[in-house]
Each structure stands twice: as C-alpha cells, then as structure tokens.
Amino acid sequence: MTKQRSGVRRRHRSHRLVAWAAAAIVGVTALAVAAFAEAPPRTNADRAHALAERLACPVCQGQSVAESDVVVARNIRREIRIWVDEGRSDDYIRAQLTAIYGDDIDYTPSASGISSVVWILPVVVGVTAVAGLTSVFAGRSPPSTTQVVASSGALAGAGASDPTPRLRQDTPAADGDVTTNPWRRRLSWTMAVAVAVLLGVLVARSAGTRGEGDTITGDVRASARELLVDAQQSFARGDMDAAVGIYDEVLELAPSNVEALAYKAWLLRLSGDSSAAVTLITDAVEIDPDYVDARVFAAAIALDLGDNAAAVAHLDAFDRLDPPTLMRRLVSQQGLRDAVNEVKRADALGRVQAVMAAQSPVSFAESGITPEDLLLAAEALAVSDRLFEGLELVQRALVEQPDDVTLNVGYGWLLGRSVSDATPEPATVALTFLDRALESDPDHPEGLVYRAFVRSSLDDFQGARADLAAFDALAVQPHRLVDLIGSFELRAKLEGR
C-alpha cells in the first residue's frame, strides 16, 4: 500500500517536473528571442523623442522637453534632432544640454555625490527588509517536505471544519535561536547592509548619469576654440611661452587650425625666429587665403626675411579682404605699409629707370610699365627729395597717355603735395589735373580725396567738403585713404571752417 503510493508520488513528481521544465524552456526561449533577435530599427525620431522625454524643459513647471510647447523646448527638440542625425551619443547630447541649462534639466539623478542617495537608499531599504524577513523565517527550523505536505493537508481539512483558524505561536524557540548569538546576528546584519549598499551603488552606477568629471569627447572644434581663447588671454598677458604651449596643444587637436598656425608663427617671429615662423605662416595662408591675421603676419615675416615680393603680395591680399580695425591698426603699428610701400617704390623706380636708360627709348606702355609703377617711381623720387625728377617722369608719361586718369590724379597729387605756404602756385595747376581726371571718372576715390586736400589748401573749403561727401558716398572707401584723411585730420579742419 505504502510502496504503491510512493511509486505514484514519484511518477507524479516526474510528470510535474517535465511540465514545468517545458514551460520554462519555451518561456526562456521566447524571452531570449525578444531580447536578442534583431529589433526593428529605431528611427532617429524615436531616439530624439526618448531623449527629449528624459530632459526637463528649462522654463516650464514640471514638463519635459518632449511635452512642452514653449519655444525653448521646441528649439531644444530641434537641436536634439540635429545632434541625433549627426550621430552623437545620448551621453554627449545630455552633457551638452546640461552644461547649457544646468544639471537640473536632467531628469536622471546623477550617480555621484549626494544625488546618488536617491538610487542607493531604496535598494538598501529593500534589501535590508528582505534580509530581515529571511532572518526571521530562517530562524525557525524549516519543516521537512513530508511535514509540509502533511500539514497542508491538515490545514485543508481544518479549513473545512473551522472557518477561522488562528495561527498558533508555533515555534517559540524561533526568537531564542537567533538572539542567543548576538555577535553572529550583528555580523550578519552588517553584512546584509553592506551588500545592500554595494548593490545600491551598482544600481546608481548603471542607471545614473555620468558625473561632472567625465570627459566629453567628439567635439574637437569646441575644445580647440576654447584653447584658442586661453592662448589669446596668455598672449594678451604677455605670457608668450604659455601661449605657444596652448597653440601647440590646439595644433595637436586640429593640425590645420589656421588661427593656431598663424598666431604661433607670429609668436615665433616676435621672439626673433622668423625663419621658423615662415613655414607655419605659409601653411596658414595656403589653408585659408582669406584669413586676414595670417596675411598680416605673413607680410611682416616676409619683410623680415627680405622676401619683398611676398610681403607686397600678402599686404595687397590683406587690403582686398576688407580687414577689421584691429588688424589695420596692427599693420600701421608695425610700419608694415611704409615698409612695403618703400619696397614697392624702389622696385618700380628701378624698372622705370631701366626703361629710361635703355639705348632705344620705347614707350612705357610697351615696356610693361603701368601708370601705377610710374607713380610709385615718382613717389620714390619725391621722398628722396628729388620731387622735380619725379614730376618730370610723370609729365613724360602724360605725354604718352594724356587721358590716363591714374596718371592725372598722381600728377595732381605730386604737385599738390609740393605746395607750401611759400609757394602756393602749384596748387592751382594741380587742381587742373585733378579736375581733368575727375571729369572722366567722377568716382575716382583717390582723385576725390586728393582734390579735397588741394582745395582745402586753396581755402576752397566748400569744394573740399563736397569732394569728401562724394568720397563718403562711394560704395567702397579704401582704408588707405580713410587713414590718410584721418592722419591729416582733414575733416576736423573742414569742420572748423
């Protein structure tokens, strides 16, 4: 009887096992497929939405960026979308936005510092509670399997007869079992709490956001720009070595950063090493031919090295770029323009003289001498106190090309400059040439400015003012002329009258 029964029990037990194992296998397989099978691709829009849901709108009361309709939230959504489309990581985007709007827009509390408590505490409480309950149950002697079956049967029987059975204090020894060993008990409690804290920290680590010290990678441009500001600050303080160091750092990040190349070259030149600077600055100009700072530095370095042609080319390019005030100031501070002009003039004079000294005289135009060259040559003569030779030279050219505006203007200006209080006569002559030039080209900027000077020297302030007004009305005012007017304070003089 008993034998038969136990056989039945065994059979049932194995049936049970099979049924549950089958369920477990199918269930785990389904879960595994769900977890590891290729999910339908998550679109960028989905990712952007998930991110926006995890950030608080900075100006709203308790709404996320995804929910809010205010402009700021809309802008942030757009920006997140752009970052996502660029392939930035979630962490990167979150770090960018918390850097801008503050940590409190991140709905995920940080895993570091005091915020981590919010992650750790519930885990500690939960684990400790489970440990407490376990210790209470473990303190009781666990009934054997047969006892369980038997008493459960007994319970079912009792339940039928007595609808409200009261639970007896069935194991009075339970408490005693634990309390007799206070040290063991304390130890196991400490262990439980320690494990709980450890678990909590793990949860915080895996769930919380990255801390402040963590680096943000992937935006070279931003960091290079920041370094450049540091370098400029060191530069402004006069700490050249530090500045060079920072530029080197920038160049490591971005080897073709023109600003770093140009400024490092400039610093080298300031420390007297122009030959080292030249390769850097040549690179800079090559990479970005429109970078004004580089053009100025290149011109200065070229002059240092005697490469006059290059200096001239750089400064010409600089002038064409409509440079900002600061750089123009630097150019005049460094006397670059004078130096370059000197070079240009000497060069022009040499070529003109070569033509004039030729055995069979040819026209200037034929021998490739432009009116500009002639004027430069004349200027060269004028600055070396050979004004009359200069005037003669231009006169000779005017015979060849009597209607050339540039020549007329230049001649007028040379004459006009020779005017002094002692000999006012040339001024009237100068005026005729300038008038002629402006008749054919009323918008000639040099013509207008020079005539303003000449007229003012003839006390024709009305006319001078008109010329300046016409100059101001031009689409483009060459900086050279503006500077010229400024350096002679012509406007102030005219205002005074």
């Binding site: 009361q61 402009v71 802008n75 801008i100 450049l228 600050q233 900002p324 005030t325 750089m327």
Partner: protein, 192 residues
C-alpha cells in the same frame, strides 16, 4: 465589544514585553517626519528660481549664417572688437523697448570698436525686416535657423543679451532689456 476584540485584549495583557520596542520604531519615524516638515516649510516656492549662464568666461558659441541683408556673418570674424549678441523677437514688448537703446549703442560705436548682432527668437524674416525698417538699426540680423544658436547660448526668454569680449569669450549675460549706457559701462568695467 466583540469576542475578537476582547480576545485580543486578553492576549495583550499577557504580553509582558515593554513598549520600548515600538518606541524604537516610532522615534526615528517621528524624527524623519519632523525633518521632512521642516524642509518643506522652509523651501522656497519653485517659481522663483534664479537663472545664470554657463557661458561666462567661456568662448562664445558659434554664430554663423546669412543675415537679413544677405551677407555672411560669423562671430569668429569679430575677434578684436566687442560683440553684443542680442536675442529678441518682434512680438516681445521689452524687446521693442530696448531697441532704441541698441540703435544708440550701435551709432556710438560706429567707428568699429563694438558691434551688435541680433538673433531672432522664433520669428519670421518678414516680421524682422519690417521691425528693423520701422525701428531703425543696421547691424547684422539673423533670422533663419536660429534655434540652434539660441540653444547653445542657453536662451530661455527674450530679450536676452550676451557681451562677447574681443578675445571671443562671453563676459556678461543680460536678461531683459539693455541700455546703451549700461552696455558701454559694462564694456569699460570688463576691460578694466
């Protein structure tokens, strides 16, 4: 009175354990609740939270784009001069109020030591062009694709202005309207 209640009372009387055990639960709970109440009683309303800028001392975020005049503007080209980056919208009243001040500031700095750049915040090009035609001002104005700029500057409302030093770093943030004198003073103050 019920049988159950009296039964349990009987059991209670027989229980000899002192109340100390309950006290050990009640006390900490009490302390926590007292702290909680104190904390809530002393915390400020969430509505008056101060905003400050992450940008101070940092390099000014990139502003580059076509202005309403069709020209290209890039804040990096403004190195060497002061730049006022002004976020505005044509429908915001304080923006309309501050506009003449910006015009005055811009005229006072016509020589080129400082420049204003306005960035429209959620506005249409037509409105902005019309706004400048009516109220004056001839500095660069960017209207299209300004959301990204606004986010990178952390703009939360208009008007909001940032002062960018000649070395390209943001040195001040002004929430609300600006005045020409205020800006000038700010520049002197910062450069001192």
């Amino acid at each position: 009175m019920t049988a159950g209640a009296s039964a349990s009372q009987g059991e209670i009387r027989s229980s000899s354990r002192p109340r100390s055990r309950v006290i050990w639960i009640v006390l900490p709970v009490g302390v926590v609740v007292v702290l909680l109440v104190l904390m809530m009683a002393t915390s400020d309303s969430s509505m008056d939270r101060a905003v400050d800028s992450h940008l101070l001392g940092e390099v000014a975020p990139v502003i580059a784009g076509r202005t309403t005049d069709g020209e290209w503007f890039d804040i990096d080209d403004q190195r060497g001069i002061w730049v006022i980056v002004n976020f505005f919208s044509t429908t915001c009243v304080p923006c309309v109020v501050e506009h003449p001040e910006l015009v005055a500031f811009s005229e006072a700095n016509a020589a080129g030591d400082a420049v204003v750049v306005s960035i429209a915040f959620d506005d249409s090009a037509a409105n902005v062009v019309d706004f400048f035609a009516r109220n004056g001002g001839d500095w660069p104005v960017l209207v299209t694709d300004t959301a990204g700029v606004a986010v990178r500057y952390g703009v939360t409302g208009v008007p909001e202005s940032y002062l960018v030093a000649p070395n390209g770093a943001v040195v001040a943030k002004i929430i609300g309207g600006v005045t020409a004198n205020g800006l000038q003073e700010l520049i002197t103050q910062v450069s001192a």
